[in-house]
């Protein structure tokens, strides 16, 4: 039985977790700073559209970058660790966003 996971599965899994946390931190940054929100508003006409573009671009960029690491073999990580990182990304992103709006809202 083959138990290895493809390099893109690993790299985009890690990228997903990173982008989820980045997404949540960008929420905190733009809601806490009018300058950041104003800049995001100016860039595409709506801060949410800019937010989406930044996070999607980060997901693609980090996914491809991690896949190129290790001389093109991608990052090496076990399935258990990858699952923990992906689930951790969801939980962290969820808690930061809802926690922030519970406190700030």
């Amino acid at each position: 039985m083959q138990n290895s996971i493809s390099k893109y599965t690993v790299s985009f899994g890690l990228s997903f977790a990173l982008a989820s946390v980045l997404n949540a931190l960008l929420v905190v940054a733009k809601e806490s700073s009018h300058a950041v929100q104003g800049w995001m508003q100016k860039l595409t006409g709506h801060h949410w559209v800019t937010h989406c573009v930044i996070i999607i671009a980060a997901f693609v960029f980090f996914g491809l970058t991690f896949a190129k690491a290790n001389g093109g073999q991608g990052l090496k990580i076990g399935a258990d660790s990858l699952i923990k990182i992906v689930v951790g990304g969801v939980v962290a992103g969820y808690l930061i966003i809802t926690g922030f709006y519970l406190i700030a809202g």
């Binding site: 290895s4 996971i5 997903f16 997404n23 989406c52 076990g78 699952i83 969801v90």
Partner: protein, 184 residues
């Protein structure tokens, strides 16, 4: 030359205003606000159903259902992209009216907490649904680790999706209670 430029600018402005008026009339006449919102919800539900399908199929993964798992995971991602496209358009174009109504009503938290968190949690869901076909591209029939990963991802999509659908319901209810409060 400068006069020509001024005429062109005025013409462009007139076209823009008339186009906007025509679009607003079309939207109003055809209830486009509600239709776009329903299409957004429909695709969101489609994403959830496809992810549940993937979860069940992966529990019984074999050579015979690998192709279906891959197609359903792609369907989940495509539905999610369509849901965010229609939802995003509705949010940018129409939501400001609902927001003003909600904030004047008895449930301002429907915007301050539920809409604010929904519009950002949905980005995370978009990435998770996009990641599902990547994770499902491994040989799930012969790879236990890949199967476990896909099960986790496929389980989190409906979980997060249903939570976000719930947020949407509370936002709609926020508009309703505000309108009802305004009538009394």
């Amino acid at each position: 030359m400068q006069a020509d430029c001024e005429v062109a600018k005025k013409f462009a402005l007139a076209v823009w205003i008339l186009g906007g008026v025509a679009r607003n009339n079309f939207y109003h006449k055809n209830n486009m606000n509600e239709i776009i919102l329903m299409v957004h919800v429909l695709f969101g539900v489609g994403c959830i159903i496809a992810a549940v399908w993937v979860f069940v199929d992966v529990l019984n993964a074999s050579e015979s259902n690998l192709s279906r798992i891959k197609w359903m995971s792609r369907a989940s991602a495509i539905f999610m992209w369509l849901a965010i496209f229609f939802g995003g358009y509705w949010y940018v174009v129409f939501y400001k009216v609902d927001k003003a109504i909600i904030l004047k009503g008895p449930w301002p938290f429907a915007h301050n907490f539920f809409m604010e968190s929904k519009e950002h949690l949905v980005i995370m869901l978009l990435l998770l649904a996009t990641y599902l076909p990547v994770a499902a591209s491994n040989n799930l029939a012969g790879n236990k680790d890949a199967r476990r990963l896909v099960l986790w991802v496929a389980a989190m999509v409906p979980l997060l999706g249903l939570m976000i659908e719930g947020h949407g319901a509370i936002i709609a209810m926020g508009v309703k209670v505000a309108l009802e409060a305004g009538q009394h």
